[in-house]
């Protein structure tokens, strides 16, 4: 016998969690886009989506957020620091790739200086992931050694039932267990079985591609130019990516008052690295694309022992010129044969 959460009880759960002080967030279709957003009722959730277009990272690392506010008076400067809004949250219905993505970024935000914006939100969020029973042409978690039922980054993993009436509950972390205490009486014991997982084809040999990337000779390979010729440098692949974490800091306001903000930024932009003198270490789009691949599969793992990609496929799904991590790694894995 295993623990089951029946979908017709989901509304009770939402109610319970809200009563227990959690806000409930999940995949929704809003304003013509699928994204994670706060809901009042379970019916607002769209749990049938393969994957939301916008990634879960926005819940931890929003596109633009205030860091401090300044007011300049005659002989003094007053500042007010902004900390991320606090509050316990349940993120219900995340996908394994999105949840993994958050765990992938933890070491980055945690090494040396601990980023309070990230960790405040991480510590107050319970990620309830639903394993995938369907996938599309762009899903590639298996190529990254993850799976449609990876538990990485999740506090609870739900496996959809064969009969579609609910989910098998797997408690992963204490935080997950605690959150599910609030609905302990709603979760039932049953002998129902889980539906088969999505079959996600392995698209490339990760180890082989990584070995190629690690070979310094390949840094200047013609490959980079050829593969990235059509890239228009739009950065939407990095902005939608759950694991891309680069940002900019900007002041907005005037001499008397204003705001210092932290905004998403991307290595796909020429300005990202351009010195004020005009010298740009990565002056071509191919150098920037190389950086993106190298960073995700060579530099980041070198430092934090994990690839900076969870295989969600958004970069390839979204790219206006049909590029993406998948194609590049596929080609590299061919090159290194």
């Amino acid at each position: 016998m295993t623990k089951i959460l029946f979908s017709d009880k989901l509304d009770n759960c939402v109610e319970r969690w809200k009563k227990a002080g959690f806000s409930v967030i999940g995949p929704v279709q809003r304003n013509n886009i699928s994204t994670y957003a706060a809901v009042e009722r379970a019916a607002e959730l769209d749990l049938g989506l393969i994957l939301t277009e916008r990634s879960i990272k926005e819940l931890f690392f929003p596109q633009s957020e205030p860091m401090l506010q300044y007011t300049i008076k005659k002989d003094s400067i007053e500042t007010k620091d902004f900390l991320p809004p606090s509050g316990q949250r349940i993120i219900f219905g995340a996908r394994p790739c999105d949840a993994s993505g958050m765990a992938i970024d933890d070491p980055l935000f945690g090494w040396d200086y601990k980023d309070e914006y990230w960790f405040q939100r991480r510590n107050e969020s319970v990620i309830v992931t639903i394993a995938c029973t369907q996938s599309d042409d762009f899903c590639m978690c298996t190529s990254l050694k993850l799976a449609p039922d990876s538990t990485k980054g999740s506090d609870i993993l739900l496996r959809p039932l064969e009969n579609k009436r609910g989910w098998l509950v797997e408690e992963i972390t204490d935080r997950g267990r605690d959150a599910f205490k609030a609905i302990a009486d709603i979760v039932q014991e049953s002998a129902d079985t889980a539906a088969p997982l999505a079959v996600v084809e392995k698209k490339f040999d990760l180890d082989r591609s990584v070995a190629w990337l690690q070979n310094p000779e390949n840094f200047e390979s013609r490959f980079w130019k050829e593969i990235s010729m059509r890239c228009i440098g739009c950065a939407s692949c990095t902005f939608l990516c759950p694991t891309c974490h680069c940002f900019d800091i900007q002041d907005e306001g005037d001499t008397y008052s204003g705001m210092r903000r932290k905004n998403w930024d991307s290595c796909s932009f020429a300005l990202f690295t351009m010195h004020t003198s005009g010298h740009n270490p990565r002056s071509t789009q191919s150098a920037r694309w190389r950086q993106r691949i190298m960073h995700k599969f060579n530099y980041f793992p070198g430092k934090f022992s994990v690839n900076s990609c969870s295989g969600c496929g958004r970069c390839s799904r979204q790219c206006p010129v049909d590029m993406g991590i998948t194609e590049t790694l596929q080609e590299i894995s061919k090159l290194s044969q």
Binding site: Y113, D251, E252, T255, S277, F300
Partner: protein, 271 residues
């Protein structure tokens, strides 16, 4: 921090002397600060800019920065008056391991506005002169007017325990220029300092660093004894924003001070 003094070094280049408002900040800064480290200096409404701390670790009353007015933040800083408050975060980054230089000869090579980081190490060493061997400084700028810290250059010229080689690029000399004319790497090769028991410190624009490294190699310097600083675009200064990365290196954390050996392991075309 409060601006307590300003000094124009060269056209568009200005030094600010700064004091912390809060004594506790001063103390904790001085406790951590070692030569080579940098800070983020800012003006509210305009943003923050990265400069090295140009004052040496041996002087603990104030800090100084020297910058070229080149963009939004540096313009705002250049317009700031004595008594104005600016923001500061730091010190960040690594340092020149000067205690490892004890007993060795020192060769400082610098170009243009890159003297500030070198100056910080130079004074840090000169303030404990007895611990080091021969000190040679090769400094060049485009024109005579572009030389920074002119008063300190005079002082070094006069000191018998410092050899200062000054140069300006061809065409940049003034009628009464008594020193060398030529690019830094060429002048360096002419001066031909001995690599024996010698540590070299180079700071300058990427192109100068590149050619100077070649010259030092010719002179027989071992890459492990050559130190330099990288000046990559930075934002957070604390290893988060990703901007300063060169290969797997976070320049803001693992730098800005590197040995030439470390630099040669970085992807050259990404520098």
């Amino acid at each position: 921090m409060k601006i307590v003094a300003r000094h124009d070094e060269a056209p568009g280049v200005r030094t600010l002397r700064l004091e912390f408002q809060n004594p506790a900040d001063h103390d904790s800064f001085m406790e951590t600060y070692r030569t080579g480290m940098f800070g983020l200096y800012g003006v509210y409404g305009e943003g923050e800019s990265t400069f090295c701390v140009a004052s040496p670790e041996t002087r603990k009353e104030y800090i100084e920065c020297t910058f070229r007015q080149s963009g939004r933040v540096t313009s705002a800083l250049a317009n700031a008056d004595i008594g104005d408050l600016i923001t500061f975060r730091g010190p960040y980054g690594n340092r020149f391991p000067i205690e490892e230089f004890h007993g060795k000869n020192l060769l400082f090579i610098s170009g243009g506005i890159a003297l500030p980081p070198t100056r910080s190490v130079i004074w840090s060493c000169l303030d404990q002169r007895e611990k080091f061997g021969k000190v040679t400084i090769v400094y060049g700028a485009r024109t005579v007017a572009d030389l920074v810290y002119k008063h300190e250059l005079e002082e070094w010229l006069e000191r018998s325990d410092v050899e200062l080689v000054l140069t300006v690029d061809p065409g940049g000399e003034s009628p009464d220029w008594k020193h060398r004319i030529g690019f830094v790497p060429t002048v360096l090769e002419e001066a031909a300092p001995s690599p024996d028991n010698c540590i070299a410190v180079i700071c300058g624009p990427p192109i100068m660093i590149k050619f100077t490294l070649i010259s030092l190699k010719k002179l027989g310097f071992d890459e492990a004894n050559v130190y330099t600083t990288l000046e990559n675009r930075m934002k957070c200064g604390v290893g988060k924003c990703g901007r300063c990365n060169v290969g797997s290196v976070y320049v803001c954390k693992e730098g800005p001070v590197f040995t030439a050996a470390e630099v040669s392991r970085m992807p050259a075309s990404d520098l």
